[in-house]
């Protein structure tokens, strides 16, 4: 079956069977996801409570660091400028003509460590096609990698097979945001001569040929490293999206 699956086309027998069964299973998953949402929320609340104590200590430490940083007026001004740029960019974000947003709910997600994918309850019947970008209120979630009639598979930007054209704001340094098996997100192929700082924001570049429109927030730069022998900088990102709590998302349909 595995061999058939990889050998045949998307309209083949195994794919067709998968599609038919999925039409039956998807509504059940949707119902279960809705029914268990209060329990999930309670679980998340309990988890947040447990982590609150350690987070409190961490936040206090960060606060001390921030207080020390207040004296550095230039740094503060720079951060302020970055925030304003991002806000302005978000306000002014305009999707190209013909683009519309399809709202969908996450009904299932992979539990294996090897795949970072979720299933949403919107598919080709809503106009969703493969390569469409998926966002939520915080930023870029991923892209559609399979689209059935009433359900789609979304590969998250944390997946090791995910690559996104991106740029650093402000400054415009270009690179590729990629996921990894560990769930860490990095910005790759940024030239060593580009000035990139911790705290700057990374958004989709929307370059010609990119599957993503310009200006979708991805994350904030967490660390920047550079070695003499390397051509590119080593940059790690903190994504804006909390991938553990995905619920409602929007598919950017072009």
């Amino acid at each position: 079956m595995l061999t058939l699956y990889f050998l045949e086309s998307d309209s083949g027998f195994v794919h067709g069977t998968q599609s038919i069964v999925l039409r039956v299973v998807a509504p059940l998953q949707n119902g279960t996801a809705r029914a268990t949402k209060p329990f999930r929320d309670a679980w998340n609340w309990a988890g947040d409570l447990f982590s609150a104590k350690s987070e409190n200590a961490k936040l206090r430490k960060e606060l001390e660091q921030l207080r020390a940083g207040v004296a550095k007026e230039l740094t503060t001004q720079d951060e302020n400028l970055q925030m304003r740029d991002l806000l302005a960019m978000q306000r002014d974000r305009v999707y190209p003509d013909g683009v519309r947003l399809v709202t969908a709910r996450v009904v299932a997600r992979s539990t294996t460590a090897w795949y970072s994918t979720v299933t949403i309850d919107a598919g080709s019947s809503s106009g969703v096609v493969v390569y469409d970008a998926v966002v939520n209120g915080a930023g870029l979630v991923g892209r559609v990698t399979k689209a059935d009639a009433h359900a789609s598979q979304v590969t998250l930007i944390t997946d090791q097979s995910s690559y996104v054209d991106a740029m650093v704001m402000p400054g415009g340094a270009q690179g590729i945001v990629s996921g990894s098996v560990t769930g860490d997100v990095t910005l790759q192929y940024v030239d060593k001569n580009e000035r990139v700082k911790v705290g700057q924001y990374v958004v989709t570049s929307g370059r010609q040929g990119s599957v993503f429109v310009h200006g979708i927030p991805i994350g904030q730069i967490e660390s920047v490293g550079s070695q003499e022998v390397e051509l590119y900088q080593s940059i790690s990102l903190d994504p804006f999206v909390d991938f553990r709590k995905l619920d409602l998302v929007q598919v950017v349909v072009r």
Partner: protein, 186 residues
């Protein structure tokens, strides 16, 4: 011959009744829904519980190798469909797990009280190693340290801990037919 083996031998070749099949189908659907909608939201010890795998183990232990293998195939296929993952990989892994759990129930000389825990431990080990090998063959990253520290060990602990309560629930639902413990009591 041990009672468990006698009971298991009696069951060999016997096709389940309509009622039993209905209960197995319900178990299958519940396992799939638990695995795809509930498990991803539960994270303990850094791992997500693998409800489908544990339930396949339970069915194998309770119903024998043949039904265990068929149930494993169906569970693996349904989970792959629900997650829109490549068909066949989970089915292959779960067939082996269902079959070997059944064979263990039919032939083991170990104490039946530990059977679910030992089986879940071994099944988790087998499933994770096979899935990691498949990832390697598909040219995806498989860092050994990540696999051992953040995938295998947490999953082994979590699935083994969950095996006992899930086994009790599945045994109750399937009415204990072919159960090792019931067989031992006779």
């Amino acid at each position: 011959m041990r009672p468990a083996r006698i009971q298991a031998d009696k069951q060999q070749g016997a096709w389940p009744s309509g009622g039993e099949i209905a209960r197995l189908v319900v178990t299958l659907v519940v396992a799939t829904l638990l695995q795809t909608t509930v498990a991803p939201n539960i994270r303990i010890l850094g791992a997500n519980p693998d409800f489908a795998l544990i339930i396949v183990v339970c069915v194998g232990l309770l119903k024998g190798s043949e039904i265990g293998a068929v149930f494993g195939f169906a569970a693996g296929t349904l989970v792959a469909i629900a997650l829109m993952e490549p068909l066949g990989l989970s089915a292959f892994v779960f067939v082996l797990i269902g079959y070997f759990a059944g064979r263990y129930a039919e032939t083991a000389d170990l104490s039946a009280g530990y059977a679910p825990l030992v089986s879940a431990f071994a099944a988790t080990l087998l499933a994770n190693v096979l899935l990691a090998m498949a990832q390697y063959l598909l040219a995806r990253q498989v860092p050994l340290g990540f696999f051992l520290g953040r995938v295998l060990v947490p999953s082994l602990i979590l699935n083994t801990l969950l095996a006992a309560p899930l086994y009790l629930v599945v045994r109750l639902w399937l009415r204990g037919a072919g159960d090792l413990r019931v067989a031992r009591a006779r």
